[in-house]
Symmetry: C2
Subunit: 337 residues, 2 copies
Amino acid sequence: MSVTIRDVAKQAGVGLATVSRVINNSPLVSAATREKVSRIIAELDYHPNPTARRLSLGKTLTIAVVTPFFTRPAFVERLRGIHTSLIDTDYDLVLYNVETTERRDAYMRSVPRRERVDGVLIVSLPPRNEDLISLANCPVPIVMIDANHPSLTMLHRIVINDVTGGQCATEHLIALGHQRVAYLSDTFETPFNFTASYDRYRGYRQALERAGLHYRPEYVVAGEHSHAVARQMALGLLRLPEPPTAIFAASDTQALGVLEAAQVLGLRVPEQLSVIGYDDIEVAEYLGLTTMRQQLFESGRRGVALLMEAIAGRHADPVCEEMPVTLVERRTTAPPA
Amino acid sequence: MSVTIRDVAKQAGVGLATVSRVINNSPLVSAATREKVSRIIAELDYHPNPTARRLSLGKTLTIAVVTPFFTRPAFVERLRGIHTSLIDTDYDLVLYNVETTERRDAYMRSVPRRERVDGVLIVSLPPRNEDLISLANCPVPIVMIDANHPSLTMLHRIVINDVTGGQCATEHLIALGHQRVAYLSDTFETPFNFTASYDRYRGYRQALERAGLHYRPEYVVAGEHSHAVARQMALGLLRLPEPPTAIFAASDTQALGVLEAAQVLGLRVPEQLSVIGYDDIEVAEYLGLTTMRQQLFESGRRGVALLMEAIAGRHADPVCEEMPVTLVERRTTAPPA
DNA sequence: CTGTTAGCGCCTTCAT
DNA sequence: ATGAAGGCGCTAACAG
């Protein structure tokens, strides 16, 4: 049907192997024949059949990405980093979107198989304990991005230290002079076992403790990850008899909800209320939101780099790389009134 | 290295072909042998090598998706629909993210090739005229989703009638009694040649005309697609000597910017200003934004369905399916004061 | 340096 | 209903 290596060989008057060598930049070809073969390849618009290459090489030339990437901007950013790293590569990026735990568990078992892929990136999805051992023993390299679960030490990982991040955010508010600092986040228990909200909460508590501020349970609220719910929760906080003067929201999306709540109540930000978010997604800059920057895009790149190394056979033992988290000060935090 | 069809055959005491038949649910196998072979398959945890299957079948079992999916929520929704449709399928979804025109053009040429994929979905990306002919003559089926360019009639398409949508949105405002209706959108000329903004603008003009309202150039503003820019533009509109009483924003994202501008100026929505958006992305519901609903997710599903039909060889001629656009009335539109 | 040949793992006639 | 054999397009020894 389409033009094959054989056609090229015939046309160029050489053997199959020679064409193959030209394709693969083998040095074992004379300049003259290389030149000739290249010309024929161009003339015939020949493109090696990737499927045949894969079969012959015993590689799939495919990277799988398993991620709940649609629900939040942060996942999309990571995915962008991954995709970008794969552009100038022989590798295809095959996508597995996870929207339910059933799909997650199905993918955890069925995706990481030799016949299917050369490597797997799992983004923001801690596996169940039941799946951990099989993942750790899996013959195909796996890299977890943004999965801090303590039991994951047997896997390659790109981690973000959310405890530290939560602590920094809180310390920033405290350093500004705030004594009444609230924490607003997702529910700690989610179907996917995300740990970020809880880790940032732990950082929050540590910061309070170090500053000698006492912990007030009524200043900690958690609910579904959305604009609207965050707004409601923030309204609750701000209507307390003794409301907080600063709110640390565990994501920028939720911080937006907090800002809305402030507007509803006619509170000026940052004069009457300081707000800090987390992630530094695109919209944060537009809104002037002070936030903790995670290098989302870069975490995707690092994940690919690590995965490629693992595929190449370096790293006998699991590698764990930590991404930095940095404070980005903008216009929603200031000393209390 | 891993277990092959040969191992299964040997173990089960049958020929290769029989195992193959069992795998592919051929009726030409006795119940007894099928049973036996199935048992061995399970015991050995055998999984057919997809690469070998592809080579043998002469199919890639792969669908490519080319899309600028990261820049806006609407693209991500379409992508979700696509992914979901592919789940219970033999097909892999290989992703090509476009962030520059160079990448778009490179993908337009290199992705739709027999050896690479069985079909291509191009989302929201009108190709250059130079590429049109080769795409139309391409031996691998292509479906364009959300590409209204008039020169695309030679390709399968899932289209959204943005002219009609723009008209409906505007008519809704006019029906409420608004006489001073503004239109706020992306720049009409973009590197990717998106046509949506201009088409909706045409719909806007048509609606004005039909209602006998005269067109005011100062009521039409366009700028970069973002929250912040939209807000600035909206401020400009609202500070006109004779400001509009209603604003039609060409996307929900931009509508959010308009809402912010209203807040900045202390204008109550919808009492003092009506706002309608476009897309009906998730956040629209939370904010109570009146908007034009596109069935984004569903457009992805329809695209896959059409592509699969094309791959199956139905459709000698290009098929064009139109997705409906409907008004979703919420809390940001009302009669003028 | 170059050509010949034997697989890679599976599907599919073609006999039986 | 089943097995044997050829072929999908390419790569990688192995000879020369």
